[in-house]
């Protein structure tokens, strides 16, 4: 909106002299104006912003031509009398013309020929450009030859021509920076790309809300992926490194010969035997169970303890599995060779399966199974046991008794499970009979 100051400025500075001196004229509030003008008197009516105290000036009205226009347009307008300067001189600066590449027929013949454009068409395009001040939509609208040309095509031709003319006028090597960038841009104008770009932009404009939402979600996903890309890559690298890393530090080719293979096999057998839990099971076949490298120890008289301790230590490392054909006598692992009767006398038991190390108490095996995870379960077990007649404290925890007790406990557990199942089935039955009724 044009304020009073703008209009005053446009109309000339001579108004300013008639203004009230030394009073800053702001177009702000009338209050301030009123205050500055007549502070003593109260305001009765609005004063016009444009009201000025000054002499009247004569205005005349006639038609004149516009100097900056090429045609013969005559405009009727009011003008102040003393103005003798060219009307609209101040607006002349707004009369901007488009810049046109200049060429003549020779240059055209030399550089500017185009398979699809005749000279006339090109010239026409230049003129249209100039006439329409370089506004391409307007040019496209008004410039029309026989051939259907899109705006992009027109632009392409124009830019091509401009670029060539530019390069002719100033050789490329001596172009300044901005000049060169301009030249480059002009040269690299691709009509197809531009068309597609504009279509895309228009498509964007016409999107529906759902599409917009979908796109935002997808973009968010993409962003997340991109952010974690670095992480994922490093993890993949890590994995790959791990897979590749264990390089065989032994050359597998050293086990080519059969001798080396048997050697390897012996080695593996030995190491397995050393272990506490042997993974290799003995088969009945002698050839598979390792070459007999052990000699069975014979029972020696127990007086020569000194001699025994050496061989005992050695024989203690021999395999103890009885199924091996090189099985040694039962006392081979023991430092003192004893007969079976002696074993019984001293309570030595050679166990076949794995035993836990440390001290265990046999009576525990009679009391621990009675205790279940919850007190309710424990009570149930106790009830069943008393009903069956098993005393709370079994005083004699011999192996046979323990075995019996284990059997009883398994029966107790089975009974408990069956009872639980029975409860569930009863419930189901009740439901069904209610349904059937």
């Amino acid at each position: 909106m044009a304020t009073g100051a703008d209009i005053r400025a446009a109309l000339g500075s001579d108004f300013a002299t008639n203004a009230l001196p030394s009073l800053p004229r702001t177009a702000s509030t009338q209050v301030s104006q009123a205050a500055t003008k007549n502070s003593s008197q109260p305001r009765r009516h609005k004063r016009s912003l444009l009201r000025r105290g000054g002499k009247a000036v004569h205005w005349s009205r006639d038609s004149t031509g516009v100097s900056s226009r090429r045609d013969q347009l005559r405009l009727i307008r009011w003008r102040r009398a003393r103005d003798d300067e060219e009307p609209f001189a101040r607006f002349a600066k707004y009369d901007v013309h488009a810049e046109l590449p200049q060429y003549d027929a020779e240059i055209y013949e030399a550089h500017l020929t185009h398979p699809e454009w005749t000279k006339d068409e090109t010239d026409g395009l230049m003129e249209a450009y100039g006439d329409n001040y370089g506004k391409w939509p307007v040019i496209t609208d008004r410039y029309d030859t026989g051939r259907p040309r899109s705006m992009e095509d027109l632009k392409a031709r124009f830019y091509g021509v401009s670029a060539t003319v530019l390069s002719l006028n100033t050789p490329i090597s001596s172009m300044t920076g901005p000049q060169y960038t301009l030249y480059d841009t002009l040269r690299n104008f691709d009509p197809a790309k531009e068309a597609s770009r504009k279509k895309l932009a228009e498509g964007h404009l016409q999107r529906r809300q759902t599409e917009v939402d979908e796109e935002t979600v997808l973009l968010g996903e993409l962003q997340r992926i991109m952010l974690n890309q670095a992480n994922l890559d490093s993890e993949r690298e890590d994995l790959r490194r791990r897979l590749d890393h264990p390089l065989a530090n032994t050359n597998g080719y050293q086990y080519n010969t059969s001798q080396a293979l048997t050697q390897l096999w012996q080695q593996l057998l030995q190491t397995d035997r050393m272990k506490k839990n042997q993974r290799l099971r003995a088969t009945g076949n002698q050839t598979f169970d390792g070459l007999p490298g052990t000699t069975p120890t014979s029972a020696r008289p127990r007086d020569s303890i000194a001699g025994i301790s050496d061989s005992g230590a050695a024989s203690g490392r021999r395999p103890t599995r009885d199924s091996l054909p090189s099985a040694t006598t039962p006392g081979s692992t023991l430092p003192v060779d004893m007969s079976k009767a002696d074993l019984a006398r001293f309570g030595v038991v050679v166990a076949q399966d794995k035993i836990s190390s440390g001290i265990t108490f046999a009576s525990d095996r009679l009391s621990k199974p009675r205790i279940a995870k919850s007190t309710l379960q424990t009570d149930k077990i106790a009830a069943i046991l008393t009903h069956a007649g098993v005393p709370d404290l079994i005083a004699l925890p011999t192996p046979a008794v323990i075995e019996q007790f284990d059997a009883i406990m398994s029966k107790v557990h089975a009974l408990l499970d069956m009872r639980k199942l029975a409860e569930k089935e009863e419930q189901e039955l009740r439901v069904r009979s209610a349904e059937a009724a």
Binding site: T320, L334, F346, H387, P391, A395, P397, A400, M418, E425
Partner: protein, 258 residues
């Protein structure tokens, strides 16, 4: 310096049976404080003993600590080898005695706790109760079996040496011999296993019989009976399941017919 872990004998376990129990008498009784302190009606003795014919306990059991009820002065009573591992006291109430067993150093094992409930009053069937009252002797014992799994070499040797039975044997000197002959005089052959038949006079008679294989057979027989009754219960349950299944089928038919 000896190595911290010595070689262990693999795949072997050494079992030792021993008895944990207590006796109790109504005061006054020989061997207990007289006059008894106020309110103390019973005199009792809690002990850890070997089997009457078994190898010596002290071979592997070096120290026993009995933790009595805190109301007793010096509630923690320690008895060291040789023996006998027992604590006599007077009192009136029953409580659980925590018994800590310390093993021989060759074994390299930590001490373990066992608990024993001190029984003072007569218990069991009428006949047993009557007998206990008559004799003024209440015995509550149970047999414990300690299993040494994979013992160390040294421990194994001590546990399999004949010296363990020396306590049962009678020394019989040889004329000029360096080592006296140990000859066993008695009826029951010493062994770590349960004897076939207990020597009637030895050991206290607890709620069970004396410690023997006879007793074992009795226990086994009893357990066998229990197992049989459990089997019966299981059969009952199975029958119940069958009948329920039939009912379910009938009901299923009835529901689908509706």
């Amino acid at each position: 310096m000896a190595p911290t872990t010595s070689k262990r004998v693999r795949n072997t376990t050494i079992r030792r049976h021993f008895i944990i129990g207590n006796e109790s008498h109504l005061l006054p009784y020989a061997g207990y404080a007289n006059p008894a302190p106020d309110n103390h009606t019973k005199g009792w003795k809690v002990y850890v003993r070997p089997l009457p014919n078994g190898p010596d306990l002290t071979t592997w059991l070096k120290k026993v600590q009995f933790k009595l009820h805190h109301t007793y002065t010096d509630a923690s009573r320690t008895i060291e080898a040789p023996g006998p591992y027992e604590v006599s006291e007077t009192g009136y109430g029953e409580f659980g005695v925590e018994i800590r067993l310390y093993f021989a150093s060759e074994s390299g094992e930590k001490a373990v706790y066992r608990e024993h409930y001190l029984v003072l009053a007569p218990y069991g069937s009428e006949e047993q109760k009557a007998k206990m009252e008559r004799e003024n002797l209440v015995v509550a014992e149970r047999m414990e079996t300690v299993e040494f799994n994979e013992p160390t070499m040294e421990f194994f040797k001590t546990l399999t040496s004949e010296d363990q039975y020396n306590w049962l044997k009678v020394k019989k000197g040889r004329g000029k011999g360096k080592k006296p002959d140990f000859v066993f005089e008695g009826e029951v052959e010493p062994t770590a296993q349960l004897p076939d038949k207990a020597d009637a006079g030895q050991g206290g008679m607890g709620a069970g019989g004396a410690w023997s294989q006879v007793y074992e057979r009795q226990v086994l027989a009893q357990l066998g009976q229990s197992a049989a009754s459990l089997d019966q219960a299981l059969d009952e349950e199975k029958r119940g399941m069958e009948s329920r299944r039939k009912k379910m089928e009938e009901l299923g038919v009835a529901v689908s017919a509706k």
